[in-house]
Symmetry: C2
Subunit: 235 residues, 2 copies
């Protein structure tokens, strides 16, 4: 947690209270805060501030904003992920948010177990976004959409998003071309499920304007591939 | 698991048995193997083969090597990691191995809890390496060393490894210069603990030849930083 994210309604007065148990406990455990210390605080979908601790007790920390700080810019990338298994969903969402993805679409694919769409973790996406923003020092949540049908998504949604200025790259271990690096333009990145997209899916993606690109001759887990791809694309 | 890794002593005869329960169960669960199917098998520290399934029953799969395949090359990077907390040690080691790191040193640092050095997970590093190799399709384990004292490591070990041809980069959020990208030379990458190196440590690293470099203005978790850095350095 590199900033504390507060809701706009928590920041209406001159002094702001940090009393959410998760945030309060984290600060208690990791920082030995005292009155007069500074603390970075962001307002969800708003500005980021350097604040000063003016009071603290057993249940809350009271801070006063001192000055605004820059909110880190996002990368102009729309990440499309085959819905990961519940166990890694949290980590992948947190990572994507921390890494500064502008938009995330979770989609179905042949190798996505149907049961994954029933996981209660899908109700917690907002919490994962908050954790990712607090890690990155960011305040602006990416847009998130869910698409439970692969073909309609690719043909009716994805195909309309791809332009010459915003190409789409599908990570595919056996592709002939390699993923570009240090790009200067917006893009769409598509990452398949564990085990990869099936050939029919790769063909449909290509037919609808995606470029299949490889990440070299090592096959990465999807949760490793996402930070690796983003680190490579946006330097 | 993109190859099955066997020990050299398991591959002395013409037919090889896959009967390790973890490997056997994984293949059972994820592949509907039948006699005649092909399967990628690697020999630890040796070659990699395309094999053919010649028999299978409830406890083992028997394969016959058909032809050798290329083992993916490693990246010429020595990764130095502040010992992560036990919960993320497995993932970080697997990721580093999958991503093709040549050598890994786990080191102490001020913000590494001393208890981390007692975790039983440190006895399982070889298992994590195996998982990472099987994911990547690699057969060659990286060298791994542990250094429980920071200062002697930096002064007596790290300082002697750094040359003009093999620079060392310490990921540090507040550094003035940025991490290079798409490099063509060997390097050393140093990644601190959660919460970062303390100023004394950064100074000692710099004094001993390391370059402090930033990853931009988003602060990444260490487990996210490692694939992101490697994806950026080696394209």
């Amino acid at each position: 947690m590199n900033i504390v994210l507060l809701e706009p309604e928590q920041t209406q007065s001159e002094l702001w209270n940090i009393e959410n148990p998760r945030q309060f406990q984290h600060l208690r455990q990791h920082l030995q805060l005292q009155v007069g210390d500074s603390l970075k605080v962001g307002i969800r979908q708003g500005l980021r501030y350097l604040t000063e601790v003016v009071a603290l007790n057993e249940t809350r920390i009271v801070v006063r904003p001192i000055e605004t700080e820059a909110v880190p810019a996002k990368h102009p990338v729309h990440l499309i992920l085959a819905l990961p298994r519940p166990k890694v969903l949290r980590r992948m969402m947190m990572d994507a948010v921390t890494l500064g993805v502008e938009r995330i679409s979770l989609i179905h694919s042949y190798r996505v177990d149907k049961s994954y769409w029933q996981t209660p973790f899908l109700q917690q996406l907002d919490d994962y976004v908050t954790l990712g923003l607090e890690q990155a020092g960011d305040t602006i949540a990416p847009e998130i959409q869910l698409y439970k049908r692969f073909k309609p998504f690719v043909e009716d949604v994805l195909a309309t998003l791809i332009t010459e200025q915003r190409p789409a790259y599908v990570a595919h271990p056996y592709a002939e071309h390699v993923m570009p690096h240090a790009i200067q333009h917006p893009c769409i990145v598509v990452v398949g499920p564990e085990g990869g997209f099936i050939p029919y899916e790769i063909e449909l993606l290509k037919k609808n304007g995606c470029q299949a690109v490889s990440l070299g001759n090592r096959i990465l887990r999807t949760e490793t591939a996402v930070p690796s791809i983003l680190g490579r694309l946006f330097i």
